[in-house]
Subunit: 223 residues, 2 copies
DNA sequence: TCAAAAATATGAGATATCTCATATTATTTG
DNA sequence: CAAATAATATGAGATATCTCATATTTTTGA
């Protein structure tokens, strides 16, 4: 983890101003943090000292259960907040957040800014929208996970993450995200290949029948 | 559904003032709605015209999937907001909300108040907290549903809803809530009886071994 | 550069959960 | 009050998913 200083910091803040998200100046105590792939931005169970706002990169929210299972709760992208739960709630079990690419965030020391932030309508309005989307998304994932087998959820995930018709996510990550065992994921992927929806190319999977996957994914959606 | 008028309305609003939730007066266009058990406060797929605040009663949030399965996403209680998603987001699939007891809510016409509400830090702060709790809860339920079998989740649910040592929820509701089939729920309940955790009394279940259920439920929690 | 660790791969048996069929009992409603 | 509807109940077979064992390949770090 690197904290930008001096000219580097000044330049970065200038190029990526977030002044429009607040109705008071936040630059004074704000820091710029850069995390490398696999760095932990927040450690599970340990309260963060900052409210983060992601400028670039991708990260993952993890929670570890008592039975050892790990859930990848969600992905975090540019323009997302991190640590907002801890800003708002005095009692909160902090989830782990791990960078999955180089990730740069602005970091507002909660200690300094908490009071002002909680009185700033502009900030709160944005955060409220962010949280409403988050809550909705979790509700959707929750109810889908209970109502549909992996086949449907995986089809959706493949379509969402495929890059130019090629799916190449890490199996291990996907297991944690879709909440199934490694074995079962591989099993369903093999089925997709057998049915001709996908074609395996070394470590990647080429989408062969878009419409079949689409059909499977479509039933998740509410119209 | 009944809309309170005149003296009845005035009295009710006076006894249950929510003026402290806003920094501007909301009484003028506010309505008081009373719903009977099984009334739909909001119909699935149809945008509501009000932001509701629940004063008394209980309700359930439902979503219907394309495969016909119904998920009971969550329960709503006094001091919860309803319709906040629609206030915040222009595009949103509205979930169904059904009263499960007589439920009385204050209803703020979005049309009149939207702009002011979105600029009111006091209101937004409360709503933000409400949403953060909601998002956290959904995330917890989501990851638990994937990481643990019904046995654990049911034990937790029984402990949470039992009334003086007696569990008497409707099976059908619980199926929708825990996302399992009726058959399987009954199966696990029978197991609990066989193991001596519960004892069936007519339509209810008496808790016999608190600690066993507690043990099963405990592994869901993060410490 | 080599050993350790992580990721991929596959088989086989176990179990959690679902679907469907069917019966009985309670509750609601015209 | 009777008929319709909802809730409870149980059996049996199907399937989705898990666990464990084990092997190979790739990536990583000292």
């Amino acid at each position: 983890m690197e904290i930008y200083k001096g000219e580097k910091k000044r330049l970065y803040m200038e190029k990526n101003s977030i002044a429009h998200l607040f109705s008071f100046p936040v630059e004074e105590f704000m820091e710029v943090h850069e995390y490398q792939r696999d760095d932990w931005i927040i450690q599970e169970g340990r309260r963060p000292d900052f409210l983060f706002y992601v400028i670039e990169g991708k990260a993952k929210i993890y929670i570890t259960h008592q039975n050892g299972k790990v859930s990848l709760i969600n992905f975090i992208n540019a323009n997302d907040y991190i640590g907002e739960m801890e800003l708002l709630n005095d009692v909160y079990y902090t989830k782990g957040i791990q960078a999955s690419t180089k990730t740069i965030c602005f970091a507002l020391p909660i200690h300094y800014y908490r009071k002002q932030l909680l009185e700033d309508a502009k900030f709160l309005r944005e955060l409220t929208k962010f949280l409403s989307v988050k809550a909705t998304l979790m509700a959707a994932k929750y109810s889908q996970s209970l109502a549909f087998p992996l086949e449907n959820r995986l089809a959706d995930f493949i379509l969402q993450t495929a890059d130019e018709g090629v799916y190449k996510e890490k199996h291990v990550t996907v297991c944690d995200y879709l909440g199934v065992s490694y074995r079962h994921l591989l099993h369903v992927l093999t089925q997709f290949c057998d049915k001709g929806y996908l074609q395996k190319n070394g470590r990647n999977y080429q989408i062969k029948q878009y419409h079949s996957l689409h059909e499977l994914a479509e039933v998740l959606k509410n119209k």
